[in-house]
Amino acid sequence: MWVVFGVVIVLLACQRLLVSHVDHAALSTWGTIFVAIVVQSTPFLVGGVLLASVIATVLSERVVRRMIPSNPALAVPVAGLAGIALPGCECASVPVASSLMSRGVAPAVALTFLLAAPAVNPVVLVSTAVAFPGRPEVVLARFVASLLTSVLVGWLWLRLGGRVPLLNPRAAHAHGAGATQRFLDNVRHDFVHAAGFLVLGAMLAAAVNTFVPRHVVDGVAGHVLLAIVTMAAFAFVVALCSEADAFVAASLTAFSDTATLVFMVVGPAMDIKLASMEAGQFGRAFALRFVPLVLTVAVGSGCAIGWWLL
């Protein structure tokens, strides 16, 4: 947690310094992009929080257990496919996953859902098809690579035996509170917990968007390995919403198809905004293991599928 505040303080201190060096246009551009990311993501976060509270209020542990196969190794791919049904941005899935875990779903299964939901839903696939006209193989490759990433991470997490601490268990209302009251409390609680980290991620992403010129990114496009690593890093730091990243990927025409695919697979699975939200929701120790794991698997499966299909 303190690292997060450290970053903020350094950022604020830097900004003071930057004001004198960076012209006004750069700062106001930063402001516009920062506000844009927050305004764009907040409705999706609120939607996710509402859904998470519906799960927490309506679904009992018994019902959840009946819906999901008891064998976690089998439940992981089921969770991955279930991700198709939640058309939302990635910000929505963090509270939903946390809520699933508190309903007794195995962490690996909930994490698979967290990774799959923003990446394989119909809205994202349609926007990818629109961004890459006449190239259905890109849509297929994206779907397969993202699903593969989420299922692999789920299985690996099962194997490595990761427990996920629930840092922010909701205050238990043992008595007196009705279902509506409990529902509203859940929504408020989840929103306040997640939104701060969303803002932090938006601040960093806007800074990268503003201060790193795109031609620096384009400059390494020719080199095969470097291009893939750059695109992965770029996807991580710019933190675009998964419904829009295909358009940006399509506009980076200098890069190979595989590098573009890696960009679209890494983006929804892990970015700076999600890492910040996950550190807030599940703790820093969790984030330190989960973030690199997801990044590695996403880049790996992006490369493999890109080599196979594109």
Partner: protein, 238 residues
């Protein structure tokens, strides 16, 4: 963070979201289709904090009951939650404008249009003179249609002014899909007229420079007869 502060925070964020949709400020940051989601989200946030006020004032027993609860919640709220005050403050006090030349001179070019977009953009030009046309449409007609519909026609383009290192100036539009973070730029070189100040919105009337933009690495250009300054449109992205 106390429960009361959380209430203030939710109300503030919700009220700001409602306000920017009502007075069209949201168009600087996100696409037009985000209007209803943002408005709805603002209303939900305000209702949430209002419902909390109502229940805690109506039911004194639950308040005394909930005191320990509240203490607990207050301890567990991460301090990052305070950051949520920042966006409303930035919107109120800085009110960042829509993206302009600073980003346009750095952003990546817009991706090629899909075949559906191409069909609608390449419909026969109307008979008016000059033809009113979006910067993106002009760009697409020159680059992806080899300019077949453009010779002999006067066109009128509206956009803002951006520059490059070589001393050219451009009539420019940015396009966004979701929000300003994914902006891409479309711009057309203006020849035969002095550059207005950066970021100034202008209407450029002129004709296509024959062959410009049809070959790789050349930008489409327009020979200006007339450049007038205009007001920025309500929705500045294209």
């Amino acid at each position: 963070m106390t429960r009361a502060t959380q209430g203030v925070l939710l109300t503030l964020v919700g009220a700001v979201l409602i306000r920017i949709t009502v007075d069209d400020t949201y168009l600087r940051y996100v696409n037009t289709w985000m209007r209803w989601p943002v408005l709805l989200c603002g209303v939900v946030l305000v209702l949430l904090s209002v419902s909390d006020l109502v229940t805690s004032s109506r039911d004194p027993r639950s308040e005394s009951d909930g005191d320990e609860d509240r203490e607990d919640v207050a301890h567990r709220v991460p301090r990052a939650a305070w950051l949520l005050f920042l966006p409303p403050l930035v919107i109120f006090f800085v009110s960042p404008p829509a993206l302009g030349a600073f980003l346009a001179e750095r952003a990546t070019e817009a991706p090629p249009p899909s075949s559906g977009q191409l069909d609608s953009m390449l419909a026969p030009l109307p008979d008016e003179d000059p033809v009113e046309m979006g910067v993106t449409e002009f760009f697409v007609r020159a680059v992806y249609d080899q300019g077949v519909s453009l010779p002999e026609r006067r066109v009128s383009l509206v956009g803002f002014v951006s520059l490059d290192e070589d001393g050219h100036w451009y009539v420019t539009r940015l396009g966004i899909n979701c929000c300003a973070a994914d902006a891409t730029v479309t711009r057309v070189v203006v020849r035969g007229a002095d550059a207005p100040p950066r970021d100034q919105w202008v209407r450029v009337t002129g004709t296509w420079v024959d062959g410009s933009g049809t070959e790789e690495d050349t930008a489409p250009a327009v020979d200006a007869e007339d450049v007038t300054t205009v007001e920025a449109p309500r929705y500045e992205y294209e």
